[in-house]
């Protein structure tokens, strides 16, 4: 029996709607239940439509992962149409996607995650005044520097992709606008400006120095920039042992190019990486307000339970890989890709690990973006011819797997009679914030919350907030 229950919501500084129910016992969370309290039904809107309409509609699932959704739709259509982007088209698409992922990561750190350390309950801590100065909501100096740097960085999407969010620039055959030589030098200039922000503000050091950290011992002596401030806070509050996840991490591999994905795909567990087999994905609906049974997304259906039955508690389905919950995100990607610091952090598995994994990815992604921009060839072809199964008789299936900022995103598409017959989406936060499955296994964030300390006077426990926000949830993608 729990001593008391808490209902935490509205849970802000996360994307979308989230409610967490907590059973508290002995001053700590005994059990947690994550509810996505919004249903819109994108998977029901798409059937019957022209397959190309997915490129316009699915980015609008989410305003923060918009290009990720767009890229997943484009790759699913390309798969169904047996199309392949030319190398340079894939490069431009990766720049668009990488810029969005970068913008999301810095937004999360500066606007969503760090402001919690400005709370009055932390007054008196050695770092509190510095946290207030840098990260007070809407006023902190770091928050303002970041929104300006972010807005400038997104000029790259304005130039290559028209606007952000909700660009239609990424198509199954490539990108709609071929950058010229002048665009290329502007992109490189904007990236150099962004590097300056990262190196002066976030890291206080060259990015290569952070990427070069290879162990937790290296990390422990990092003290510069806002990354250093975070690590100091993390040490003081022992964020390393707070909020440990399931210890299994998935990445589908980020940034598909004809020559292969830039970061590796796989599943990391206990120090070993094994292959990722998308056929092992099953979406369980036992605790979701969804009708039907567990199914692979290629066979999945979306039928909301209008009665909102008692034993269910979320509109989020529960994806499992080989029957088990997995954690996705920047930490997962970097660990699966084999970065030594990320692998050490994956074993640590808590709040510090997730945030540091994201910082590591920011540094690596900036270097990748600079490399991709340098490789842009304004004389090349950026869009290949592509066709879809034809109206009337055309049938086909396609899968698009990408890595959004928050983790693995998949679109599963079936075309019949030239129209969409089925469209199923498994988003990163669907993995991380899934409810319990039929076997009773909790979703990753539900498991990570167990043991969080809760003060007697707390009605919105700050430890719970740190853990939830360390995952950077995107609830609008989750429930699509």
């Amino acid at each position: 029996m729990s001593e008391r229950q808490l209902l935490v919501g509205p849970f802000n500084r996360v994307e979308g709607d989230l409610e967490i129910r907590l059973d508290i016992e002995g001053g700590a969370v005994r059990a947690a239940y994550a509810n996505s309290p919004l249903f819109r039904g994108f998977e029901m809107m798409l059937p019957g439509k022209d397959p190309r309409d997915a490129l316009t509609l699915t980015p609008r699932i989410c305003g923060i992962c918009s290009i990720s959704q767009s890229a997943a739709a484009a790759f699913a259509l390309a798969d169904a149409g047996r199309a392949e982007m030319p190398e340079q088209g894939a490069l431009a698409a990766s720049i668009l996607h990488g810029v969005e992922n970068m913008a999301d990561h810095v937004t999360h750190f500066h606007l969503f995650f760090m402001p919690d350390f400005c709370r009055p309950s932390y007054a008196g801590r050695a770092w509190h005044q510095r946290a207030l100065q840098r990260f007070t909501a809407m006023e902190g100096s770091a928050a303002k520097t970041m929104v300006e740097a972010r807005a400038r960085l997104l000029h790259i999407v304005g130039m290559l992709g028209g606007k952000w969010p909700h660009t239609l620039a990424i198509q199954p055959g490539g990108v709609t606008r071929a950058p010229d030589a002048r665009d290329k030098v502007r992109i490189q200039t904007l990236l150099r400006a962004f590097r300056r922000f990262l190196e002066t503000s976030l890291f206080g050091a060259p990015l290569e120095a952070f990427v070069g950290l290879s162990s937790l011992r290296d990390l422990d002596v990092w003290s510069t920039g806002d990354a250093g401030l975070f690590l100091e806070i993390a040490g003081d509050l022992d964020l390393a042992s707070l909020g440990r996840g399931p210890g299994r991490y998935l990445s589908a591999g980020a940034y598909p190019m004809p020559s292969g994905r830039v970061s590796r795909a796989g599943v990391w567990q206990g120090g070993a990486v094994t292959a990722f087999d998308p056929a092992q994905i099953v979406e369980d609906v036992s605790h979701a307000w969804m009708l039907g049974g567990a199914a692979h997304p290629a066979q999945g259906v979306t039928a909301p339970d209008e009665e909102m039955r008692e034993e269910a508690y979320s509109w989020c389905k529960a994806p499992r890989l080989g029957g088990q919950p997995v954690e996705v995100g920047a930490l997962a990607r970097q660990a699966v890709d084999g970065h030594p610091l990320a692998q050490a952090l994956a074993a640590e598995g808590g709040v510090r690990a997730r945030i540091t994994g994201r910082l590591l990815e920011i540094a690596r992604l900036q270097i990748w973006l600079e490399d991709w921009a340098a490789r842009l060839d304004p004389a090349a072809c950026f869009m290949g011819a592509w066709t879809l199964p034809e109206a009337g008789s055309g049938t086909g299936t396609g899968v698009g797997l990408v890595e959004a900022a928050r983790g693995t995103l998949g679109h599963w598409l079936r075309i019949e009679g030239g129209k969409i017959a089925s469209y199923q989406i498994v988003a990163p936060t669907t993995w991380n914030f899934s409810p319990r499955d039929a076997g009773g296994a909790a979703g990753p964030v539900e498991a990570a919350l167990v043991g969080c300390p809760v003060g007697e006077a707390e009605d919105t426990p700050v430890s719970v907030q740190h853990v939830v926000r360390s995952f950077d949830p995107c609830m609008v993608c989750t429930v699509h």
């Binding site: 935490v8 509205p10 849970f11 802000n12 500084r13 709607d17 409610e19 509810n35 919004l38 249903f39 819109r40 039904g41 029901m44 809107m45 439509k49 022209d50 190309r52 309409d53 509609l57 609008r60 699932i61 989410c62 305003g63 923060i64 606007l111 709370r119 007070t136 909501a137 809407m138 006023e139 928050a143 303002k144 300006e148 972010r150 807005a151 000029h155 999407v157 304005g158 130039m159 992709g161 028209g162 606007k163 952000w164 909700h166 660009t167 239609l168 620039a169 198509q171 990108v175 709609t176 606008r177 071929a178 010229d180 209008e306 072809c381 869009m383 011819a385 009605d459 919105t460 907030q465």
Partner: protein
């Protein structure tokens, strides 16, 4: 002026776009003008019980509310209950909260086409029963009745767009803070006329192709996208090509069609978004204020008169033929 911002059934993209405001950044643009957020789901410190107390205080009339901004559609499903979107932690639907809070506000602003008209959330048979705040597509009457007026006497101000340009939102708030927006400053769909009196076509970089009906046949070709690729920039309201997005972008500059995302029911064009429906080769949707006979006469004449440069470039992904240089005769 204080602002309470609620995110209802949408994608959050209008907030994400708002963060792209520049010269100065969004926090200074608003803060310097004395506009502060009572609460915002993405920016504010307060969460859970602290946030609930703010909402309750406004609802009880203890905290005067200048502007209620709602982003996202209001869902009414299943079966009119609104339970498809419960405001977390409150046990009440967003439909219920919005109906309760809107009458407390001096102004009510619908941010984005979802909040204005239902938008994308109402696409594909509208499975969640999405409505705009005061409109259901092109029909008046949404989550709030058509006759609703906020304390200022204004109807819901529809800052439509999918997403909204950051300046459409900041400037609407700045005008409200300066008491400089009246009903006459709104168009018939109650969109601020400072951006809705323009067409996306104005300032479109493809205008020369349009003049000759030199049309792109597939995405990535540089020609005008009206004839084949679904572009309705000649009919859609917005200053997207007058003051571009994210530095120097716009949909048409990005090489894909304007889909009239500022318009009610843009989410269901009744044809693929990137394909222009035609009758006997004539696009069904003609430029605003243009008689059909005139359009046909001008189109056939201009097509016949298309210079080679424009014809070649229209069907290429980059400029192949440069303008002929005018050399001054000695």
């Amino acid at each position: 002026m204080n602002v309470l911002w609620l995110q209802s059934a949408g994608c959050g993209g209008c907030t994400m776009s708002l963060l792209c405001a520049e010269n100065p950044n969004v926090f200074d643009t608003l803060g310097d003008a004395g506009i502060r957020f009572l609460w915002h789901p993405s920016f504010s410190l307060e969460t859970g019980a602290e946030a609930r107390r703010i909402l309750e205080s406004v609802e009880a009339g203890e905290t005067p509310l200048d502007v209620l901004c709602v982003e996202g559609s209001i869902v009414t499903g299943p079966r009119g209950t609104g339970k498809y979107h419960m405001l977390a932690g409150t046990g009440r639907s967003m439909l219920d909260w919005v109906q309760s809070l809107a009458p407390k506000a001096r102004h009510v602003v619908a941010v984005g086409s979802c909040a204005a008209f239902g938008g994308i959330t109402a696409a594909g048979g509208n499975p969640a029963g999405a409505l705009g705040l005061q409109w259901d597509g092109t029909l008046e009457g949404g989550a709030l009745p058509g006759a609703f007026r906020s304390a200022s006497g204004l109807p819901v101000i529809n800052v439509a767009g999918c997403p909204t340009h950051p300046a459409w939102v900041t400037e609407t708030l700045l005008l409200l803070a300066g008491e400089a927006m009246s009903e006459g400053d709104l168009d018939p769909f109650r969109r601020p006329r400072f951006y809705a009196d323009h067409l996306v076509h104005h300032g479109c970089t493809k205008n020369e192709f349009y003049e000759y009906k030199a049309s792109a046949r597939s995405l990535s070709e540089m020609g005008c996208m009206m004839e084949h690729l679904g572009c309705v920039g000649t009919q859609a309201v917005g200053d997207c090509n007058i003051r571009p997005w994210n530095g120097e972008g716009s949909c048409t500059r990005g090489g894909y069609p304007c889909i009239a995302c500022t318009s009610p029911e843009f989410e269901e064009p009744n044809h693929p978004f990137t394909e222009t429906p035609t009758i006997a080769g004539i696009p069904v949707g003609l430029p605003s204020d243009m008689p059909k006979a005139w359009f046909m006469a001008l189109a056939s004449l201009s097509k016949a008169a298309t210079p080679k440069r424009i014809d070649v470039n229209a069907h290429s992904d980059r400029i192949r033929v440069a303008p002929t240089l005018r050399v001054k005769r000695k």
